[in-house]
């Protein structure tokens, strides 16, 4: 296969899948947030963290896609093309996992905080730890691109 085509598949994965997971995360957390917002609007400023962390997943994808785009002219061998593809897969899987984590713990966090606002500081851990998963993926994807 053509190295450029393989790298482009990696690039498409790197931008497409994170955006999809960000969208799903925002759909789940955003709707929960809207529900709570009508009852307790004073909590919105704190709980918006779930939606923003979901949005950040798309930005990680964007970063990797952007770096791959910059590397495209250097990709001439199959090895380099494989690395581009793999980095796309890494960030895809990482953001999907992080997205799943944020969606589930985020919507529960929103419901729990609405019930008892004091639990926010301990429950938010679930969301931020899920989000850290994406950072790990990002780091490794980043290092793989560095090898091209």
């Amino acid at each position: 296969m053509d190295p450029i085509l393989i790298s482009l598949i990696g690039l498409a994965l790197a931008i497409g899948v994170p955006i999809l997971s960000a969208a799903i995360t925002i759909i789940i957390c955003g709707t929960a947030l809207a529900g709570v917002g009508t009852e307790k609007p004073e909590l919105l400023s704190r709980l918006i963290i779930t939606v923003v962390l979901g949005e950040a997943l798309a930005i990680y994808g964007l970063l990797i896609a952007f770096m791959l785009l910059g590397k495209l002219p250097d990709i001439t061998t199959m090895d380099a093309a494989n690395m581009a593809l793999i980095s796309g897969i890494i960030i895809s899987v990482a953001t999907v996992s992080a997205g799943a984590g944020i969606s589930y713990s985020g919507s529960s966090l929103i419901a729990a905080t609405a019930e008892n606002p004091e639990t926010f500081s301990s429950n938010v851990i679930g969301v931020v730890l899920s989000e850290a998963l994406a950072i790990y993926g990002l780091l490794i994807a980043f290092m793989v691109i560095g090898q091209i």
Binding site: S45, L53, Y60, L62, F66, V128, E131, G146
Partner: protein
């Protein structure tokens, strides 16, 4: 921070209201809800139910007073709150007095006066001349209902006039200016119709209003006594305040428990006001009280006295409190937080130009807020106004790191990275993050290690303040482990050279990584037991690793910021620091987009680094603010 003391008080039941009123006037104690700690009294005492009856009575009276307000068209909150007399009487007696006074107030008569003034107001508004109205109109319902109907119909009339299209002045002018003869006809007809309609309705309402006025005046004539509306209103307001106050006291008393003849309660009091509180209780109860005054036990959750944040730290105070108040005896980290927050934000949002925009926006918001415009505008405007000073700090930080990483609206080439200094493999400044991401990663981890160790130092101080001397070496060992690991990584290399850590570097590994973990194991084992020690040591190891890794987001988000700006630079055709004229709108759009989206993401990540990685080291967030019970 001021120490708190706990009062345990037993008062003879006849004096309990006087005691609570006296304490309420001073506003120095926070009463503890005994219902939440049944283990302290259950089996010996029973809940104090007298207050529940008083609360019901208060609610009943309040609803009566509020109905009176409503029928007299008074908004109680529009008036200054009246002075209420200080009394030491029991709640039941005060409420009985209020009930009697309420019955004596000439509310029905006042209602008629209010009705008359409303009718006069409408007659004036419509320009009706009562002497010109001829026909009589028979009232079919009560005067008040009739007036309500008239008011409702008038609103409908306003709507009809509006929907005729003539009320909109601008449309009328536009149509006249367009000079179509047909339009003139149409407008003329509409005017004529409307005039007819208005005159007709004026007659119709005139008839009704005048008859109504007459009836009301007749009733007015039957009232013999002179009534002063303002006096009645003030009396009503005073009664309202008294009942509200009694209700608050009854709600506080609902927290108490009792024996057959005594009432028992517990309260927190600041050490400096301790004597005053005891004296007040003894005086109000005529000596019929037993008071135990003790310092809190170590495992008790003691409320903390929160101080108002200075206005330049207000935004940080809100962010810290959103996580939780510091526990009693802990350091309040707000000043350190106000320094580290802008630094971390600035690293991720490094840009000279955008930082300057932040500073300008911050100055504008601060000035607006200081001119007292906080209350206007929606939620977002209010947040921006509060965060005025914070925007200035993060803007300055962004400008500083913008110079270090050479960013001016992204890596445009206007500014070249400024090299500051080098610590081993860690270079501070002098490189472009997008060109040398690994250098940026090292920088981010170094910043993370310094930030975490700052948190650990604060934890060390907290342990000393709480006199937990046995556990105090743990934060020091964590710093040892953190910088030991960092040194190993810098000296031998990362994952690809991990085999060297265990071969040539094995001695160093034992000294820098294994030894601090062993010390932690021994210290925790001695203090809390061996199994806890193992669990805690594993936790420390995993936490140190994952928390330092987490700071790599400084690099990731810094690069994202740079890359997003770069995108617009490429689109605008900016090269070697030259901004062509046509690139300016694109750069402007890009800047707005980046500042809003990226700004929000970076802000949340900075917050997250503080809340999760930093606060978890030393700031439990479990403190309860001291809210003394205060009556007006």
């Amino acid at each position: 921070m001021e120490e708190m003391r706990k009062l345990k008080v037993m008062v003879y039941e006849d004096y309990i209201d006087a005691v609570i009123q006296s304490l309420g006037h001073a506003g120095i104690v926070q009463l503890i809800d005994m219902r939440e700690i049944p283990e302290d009294w259950e089996g010996v005492l029973v809940p104090y139910t007298a207050s529940t009856e008083a609360i019901a009575k208060c609610s009943d009276l309040l609803s009566k007073i509020e109905t009176a307000f409503e029928s007299l068209h008074i908004q109680p909150n529009d008036f200054p709150s009246p002075e209420i007399p200080i009394t030491n009487e029991p709640i039941e007696k005060v409420l009985a007095g209020v009930e009697q006074k309420l019955a004596e107030l000439p509310i029905e008569e006042i209602k008629i006066y209010a009705l008359a003034s409303r009718i006069d107001h409408i007659i004036d508004d419509l320009g009706i001349k009562p002497e010109e109205v001829e026909k009589e109109y028979a009232l079919t319902q009560s005067e008040e209902k009739e007036l309500e109907h008239i008011e409702f119909e008038l609103i409908e009339l306003d709507k009809t006039i509006e929907s005729s299209g003539l009320a909109n002045h601008q449309i009328l002018v536009e149509r006249i200016e367009s000079k179509h003869l047909d339009d003139y006809d149409e407008i003329g007809i509409k005017f004529a119709e409307l005039a007819k309609f208005v005159i007709k309705s004026q007659r119709y309402f005139g008839k009704r209003l005048v008859s109504l006025k007459k009836t009301v005046e007749e009733i007015e004539g039957t009232i013999e006594t002179e009534i002063n509306f303002e006096e009645v209103r003030d009396n009503l307001l005073t009664l309202w305040k008294i009942v509200e106050e009694e209700k608050r006291i009854a709600e506080e008393e609902d927290k108490f428990v009792r024996s057959a003849k005594t009432v028992f309660f517990e309260a927190w009091v600041p050490e400096s006001r301790d004597k005053e509180a005891v004296e007040r209780i003894m005086k109000a109860s005529d000596g019929n009280a037993i008071i135990a005054d003790k310092p809190p036990t170590p495992d008790e959750k003691v409320p903390i006295i929160t101080h108002e944040c200075p206005s330049y730290l207000q935004a940080f105070g809100k962010l810290e409190c959103a996580y939780g108040y510091p526990s009693s005896g802990d350091i309040d980290p707000i000043r350190v937080f106000a320094i580290t927050f802008p630094i971390l934000f600035g690293i991720m949002f490094a840009d000279v130009a955008q930082g300057a925009i932040f500073v300008i926006a911050g100055i504008i918001f601060t000035l607006l807020r200081r001119n007292g415009k906080t209350t206007k505008g929606g939620d977002i405007i209010r947040y921006l106004l509060i965060s005025g000073e914070m925007l200035i700090y993060i803007g300055i930080s962004a400008i500083f790191f913008g110079f270090i990483f050479g960013e001016f609206f992204g890596p445009s080439g206007v500014i070249h990275p400024i090299f500051l200094f080098r610590i081993g493999p860690f270079q501070i400044g002098g490189f472009e993050p997008t060109q040398e991401p690994m250098m940026m990663l090292k920088f981010a981890i170094l910043v993370g290690a310094i930030h975490i160790s700052l948190g650990l130092i604060l934890k060390f101080i907290n342990e000393l303040r709480h006199k937990h001397y046995k556990l105090s070496p743990i934060p020091i060992c964590c710093i040892w482990l953190l910088f030991g690991g960092l040194f190993m990584w810098a000296y031998w290399g990362g994952i690809s050279n991990i085999s060297k850590w265990f071969a040539e570097g094995s001695l160093m590994f034992v000294g820098l990584v294994v030894l601090p973990l062993l010390v932690i194991l021994v210290v925790t084992g001695l203090a809390e037991g061996f199994m806890e020690g193992i669990g805690f040591t594993v936790e420390v190891f995993a936490e140190t690793l994952s928390h330092s890794m987490s700071y790599s987001r400084l690099m990731a988000l810094g690069l994202v910021h740079s890359a997003m700006n770069y995108l617009f630079l490429v689109l605008g055709g900016v090269e070697h620091g030259v901004f062509p004229l046509q690139s300016i709108p694109l750069i402007a759009i890009g800047t707005i987009l980046v500042m809003i989206i990226e700004g929000l993401v970076v802000f949340v990540h900075t917050l997250r680094l503080h809340w999760v990685e930093w606060f978890s080291k030393f700031h439990s967030g479990e403190g309860i603010p001291f809210k003394p019970f205060k009556s007006t």
